[in-house]
């Protein structure tokens, strides 16, 4: 098992660069470096790339706890904050792309869409809920909030399903990809529920075993 220092020095920097790749890939295509391009509908390409990676990174963030449990790898939790913050970064860029490039700050359209288009409403709600999580992600905030920090950050259990729903509702007919996300999220959240079930509670198990022995 890698030590805290190893994680900090040797795992986090490459992970940071890895998480930055989707952003760099968009930048490369914006400037058409090396004959690349964003294609016929560049705004859609940028918006979709950011949205997809926002959702992917939030799902990966959600996977850290189950993966730690399954593979007995507690060090994974040290990567969780960076993954979550990058998820927020891409979701924010996805939103800003919509606001600035797609809508061009056309407020009548923006406000009506947020209010009237359910898939935009839930996407926007998910973004709003991510803000307090990002703001309270620092060590200082964790200390200050104490026990409440954990309760607050359970919001992510609502945010990620909303993100999947937002994607599912936006798709015209081919829902295969949103359903893959849904399956993964159901497993990741289902695992947490399963862990909390009384029968799985180790103390409960021990008590039951003792009773049988007697």
């Amino acid at each position: 098992m890698p030590s805290t220092i190893v994680v900090r020095r040797y795992l986090k920097p490459p992970l940071f660069l890895l998480c930055l790749l989707p952003f760099l890939w968009v930048a490369v295509r914006v400037f058409e470096i090396g004959g690349t391009s964003l294609g016929a509908n560049p705004v859609e390409a940028v918006q979709d790339t950011f949205g997809q990676w926002g959702l992917r990174l939030l799902v990966i963030t959600l996977a850290m706890t189950p993966l730690r449990d399954w593979f007995n790898a507690p060090w994974l939790i040290q990567l969780r904050r960076m993954l979550g913050l990058f998820g927020f970064f891409y979701v924010l860029l996805h939103f800003l792309t919509w606001l600035l490039l797609d809508q061009g700050l056309y407020w009548p359209g923006i406000l009506v869409d947020i209010g009237k288009r359910p898939f935009i409403t839930i996407g926007f709600a998910a973004l709003l809920m991510l803000i307090p999580l990002a703001v309270t992600s620092t060590n200082g905030m964790m200390r200050r909030l104490g026990k409440r920090w954990k309760s607050l950050h359970r919001l992510v259990y609502v945010i990620v399903p909303l993100g999947v729903w937002h994607y599912y509702w936006q798709v015209k007919a081919d829902v295969r990809e949103p359903l893959i996300y849904l399956t993964i999220v159901v497993v990741l959240l289902g695992w947490r529920l399963w862990k909390r079930m009384p029968a799985r509670n180790t103390a409960g198990w021990a008590a039951a075993r003792d009773r049988i022995k007697q």
Partner: protein, 323 residues
């Protein structure tokens, strides 16, 4: 290149894609497709006929000015690489990537239903008596993006007349070919296959309705609906059924694919209407393909700007109910 806003003074209408010599970008696409094919099936697969563009041939035609917009057409590259043609996959780039194996020649079209002239006809025989015309039409997708496309084709009305529909013929139904072996998208039930569409008889007889066989002066590439497709520019793009194998005259309103898939979202008429939103998104404004990264949406026009020509068709109809 994308970042620079177009200034009124510079050669604003010339797009980079138009400057690129055709041979160069066709070659580039050939290489890309070969690479994609090789990537998908291993080495050696590059030998299969992947480049649908290679098969397009020049057409002789006359521009129909009356029915052509003066707007600048989108580049050939945009029109042939950004497509909705679910038979080849649901991504915009799937049709160009996956349509290389499709064989649009030879092609026969079945005429059936309430008409005097019925049977199977070679496409050449259907087209032969008619002069091909070029029409530069606006195209508005139900997904709220738009293009300007120089189609080549024959007026649908002329073909319909030659079929001599009977008095019972109130609608014209169209069917796309069913070839899952050549159309990988048909192997998944994303929609009910084969794709079907339909028009009311007066819509089909309207001079704007076009049976297209080409674009940019060349025969249709596979990804754009080779060898024969419908173009109804006042309606959302999905009404423009592609790779047509059957034209059927019916007394009753025929079923249409997107209406079957989601009846509350896609109606039979599917007329472009900025006032009637899709249940999930606004139809008031559209993104024009080719406008680049820093130009936002523009307002959508009633009947996609063809109100003057076709407004009478729907007089007295509630367009909210008949969406």
């Amino acid at each position: 290149m994308l970042i620079r806003r177009k200034q009124p003074g510079d050669c604003a209408h010339v797009q980079p894609s138009e400057i690129t010599p055709e041979g160069v970008y066709l070659n580039r696409r050939l290489l890309l497709q070969a690479a994609l094919a090789a990537g998908a099936t291993g080495l050696g697969a590059a030998a299969w006929p992947t480049a649908s563009q290679a098969k397009v041939s020049d057409l002789s035609f006359k521009r129909n000015q009356r029915f052509s917009t003066t707007q600048t057409p989108n580049s050939y590259e945009d029109i042939t690489t950004y497509n909705n043609f679910y038979e080849f996959g649901t991504g915009k780039g799937d049709p160009v990537a996956n349509s290389g194996r499709f064989q649009p020649e030879p092609w026969t079209v079945t005429i059936s239903g309430e008409a005097e002239v019925k049977g199977k006809f070679a496409l050449e025989d259907i087209l032969k008596p008619h002069a091909l015309e070029e029409r530069v039409y606006r195209m508005r997708c139900v997904e709220a993006w738009s293009m300007v496309i120089p189609w080549v084709g024959v007026p649908l009305a002329e073909v319909v007349k030659r079929c001599k529909p009977t008095s019972k013929a109130k609608y014209v139904a169209f069917k796309t070919v069913l070839r899952p072996a050549e159309m990988p998208g048909q192997r998944y039930p994303v929609l009910e296959w084969p794709y079907v569409e339909g028009l009311r008889m007066d819509e089909a007889m309207h001079p704007l309705a076009l049976l297209a066989v080409g674009l940019y002066g060349k025969s249709l590439p596979n990804q754009n609906g080779a060898p024969l497709r419908l173009v109804t520019p006042w309606k959302y793009g999905f009404k423009g059924i592609k790779s047509i194998v059957e034209i059927r005259f019916t007394e009753r309103e025929p079923p249409t694919s997107w209406n079957i898939a989601a009846p509350h979202e896609y109606g039979f008429y599917a007329n472009v209407n900025p006032q009637v939103d899709h249940p999930r998104w606004s139809q008031a404004r559209e993104r024009h393909i080719g406008a680049g990264l820093f130009n936002s949406r523009v307002p959508t026009q009633m009947f996609n700007g063809y109100e003057k020509e076709i407004g009478d068709l729907y007089r007295g109809m509630d367009l909210r109910k008949n969406f």
